[in-house]
């Protein structure tokens, strides 16, 4: 396939995503309007009278009919305006650009942790199927996926911070005495490194460890299982037998030939796990006071902050589409046999 075909494929994929995005926009709009409670009343403040509630309602555009509100929302969207979050008082776009890196940084590290544990476990289990190693691996990863993340998180805070005192206080992205590094990527660890400031890097990393492990533990299972399955399949294939028969070293066979060929299904799972994590770290963020988009979404939903909920869902959906696209592209790069149409 040449570059032109690839471009076509990417465009095709993006076009395919359009109906989903439209669906998301409509469903989110209806869902937020179906939330009980009147945001105007909530945000009018404690001693508001009927008049001031009405003023708020007008200023939020809630006095208009649903179709009108929807039209306003759509036209705003078209100009890239996501509206203003009433609960934080800032434009939703600004909130998202500040909070998304926080969530992404956490998710990436969690994924890294998860991969570091799950891949060796999966390989070990696949090379010794149905032995105690295999069973142990199975029980361990299943246990990880069986606990609610907020429970694991709170328990880790209790143990490592409160009792042992080895973890830094669960105060979000940086401990109190540190200031955030000059914003370039808004990933604190990377920004600190770019700034050559290792102390802040260490501090940012230390804050990340507990929430990342909490999140990572929950995603061990799919990754380890897929690794095991893919490896088993590859190991029983002809070319591995040939490689073995031709006297290559065991580790070479395992890591160079087998593992590389097992990568494809692992990559697919990785994509699924990543999007699942981004959506599910809402609870972890709440436990660790993490200023990410998840905690923002929870608060927004509880107080019926329409613009914030809509902006959050839309951002997540677009991320999801882009992620899938990336995986597809990665696929074609790794394996030229993968076809064009989806």
């Amino acid at each position: 396939m040449d570059g032109n075909d690839k471009l076509k494929m990417i465009l095709g994929r993006l076009l395919q995503a359009i109906p989903s995005i439209i669906g998301i926009v409509i469903v989110t709009f209806v869902l937020t309007r179906a939330l009980p409670g009147d945001p105007a009343v909530y945000f009018a403040g404690p001693a508001a009278d009927e008049k001031s509630i009405q003023e708020i309602r007008v200023s939020l555009g809630l006095d208009k009919s649903w179709p009108e509100q929807f039209w306003i929302y759509i036209t705003d969207l078209a100009t890239g305006n996501l509206g203003v979050s009433v609960s934080t008082g800032l434009p939703v776009a600004e909130e998202l650009t500040r909070r998304l890196p926080a969530s992404l940084e956490l998710t990436f590290l969690a994924l890294l942790f998860s991969l570091a544990v799950a891949l060796p476990l999966g390989v070990a289990a696949a090379t010794r199927p149905n032995t105690w190693v295999d069973q142990l691996c199975r029980v361990v990863v299943t246990a990880g996926v069986s606990l609610p993340v907020f429970f694991t998180g709170l328990f880790m805070v209790y143990l490592f911070y409160y009792i042992l005192g080895v973890a830094p206080p669960p105060l979000g992205r940086l401990d109190i005495i540190f200031l955030s590094p000059p914003p370039i990527t808004n990933f604190y660890t990377i920004d600190a490194l770019l700034d050559g400031d290792f102390e802040t890097f260490g501090a940012a990393l230390a804050q990340l460890i507990l929430p990342a492990i909490t999140l990572g533990i929950f995603t061990l299972a799919p990754l380890a299982r897929m690794t095991r399955a893919a490896m088993l399949q590859v190991l029983s294939s002809d070319f591995i037998r040939t490689a073995r028969a031709s006297g290559l070293r065991r580790s070479t066979v395992l890591y160079v030939y087998a593992f590389r060929n097992a990568l494809l299904p692992i990559l697919t799972t990785l994509g699924m796990v990543f999007s699942f994590m981004l959506g599910s770290n809402v609870l972890v963020e709440k436990v660790f006071a993490w200023p990410g988009i998840g905690s923002f979404a929870i608060e927004a939903l509880i107080v019926s902050d329409y613009a914030a909920v809509q902006g959050f869902v839309l951002a997540m959906a677009i991320l999801y589409v882009l992620l899938n696209l990336t995986i597809d592209i990665a696929y074609t790069l790794i394996d030229p046999r993968v076809g064009l149409d989806g």
Partner: protein, 281 residues
Amino acid sequence: MREFLKHLKYILTENPVTLFAGALFVLLVLAALFGPFLVPYDPMQSNSALSLKPPSLDHWFGTDQLGRDVFSRIIVATRLDLAIAVSAVAISFVIGSLLGSLAGFYGGWADRLVGRMTDTIMAFPLFVLAMGIVAAMGNTVENIVYATAIINLPFYARVSRTEVNIRRSADFVLAARLAGNSSLRLLAMHIYPNTLPPLMVQVSLNMGWAILNAAGLSFIGLGVRPPTAEWGIMVAEGAGFIVSGEWWLALFPGAALMLAVFTFNLLGDGLRDLIDPRRRT
């Protein structure tokens, strides 16, 4: 059938973990059926003299803020939690697999419609979608079930679409078609039953997930309404007491929750072995 039993026996003896999971499952079902008759205390009865007592011989798992017996509450909650899991999964299984098989069988616009619908749901951050549904419709058990069912739907639709699609032109289907069976009959009698095994694996995995989902909703205050005993809400409320030293409030319901999810997940693995030994993962 004999063949199947033999295979079952083989799986169970070959794989002690699956045997263990089977035993746990039986235990859970027994607790759900007979639990309310067996518990030592009324799970709703408060007792001001006994508030926040640590585990003892009288109260094996201690008591909560209102002096209610935690052990009794955990046992009684089994029924509700299993009910939530079973009904949520049943709904998404039935609707999802129906939509999926129709899409896979007929193709064309039906396929596209179902495909776009599942894409849309999948593109949502799932937990937030569940939150939104429960917040909009009110936090009752039924709504938690519906929300969980909706976010699980795409998985079933996708799996059954693929399975039906593969079998649409399989030899035995062609043979049945030649024998004069109508399309719908073909789908219902010949193709659909064959898609069930891979779906069953998904079912057992999702049961655990449904319970966790309900627990997560409880944690942000959108769980079942008090004073109902439910594991998720007990862990969520107990979590606030960990730092102050009343660890039993979160630990025991947490353990029950974990045990149930664990059982379902292991069972799912075992089921997969049973259906197709080569696909075991």
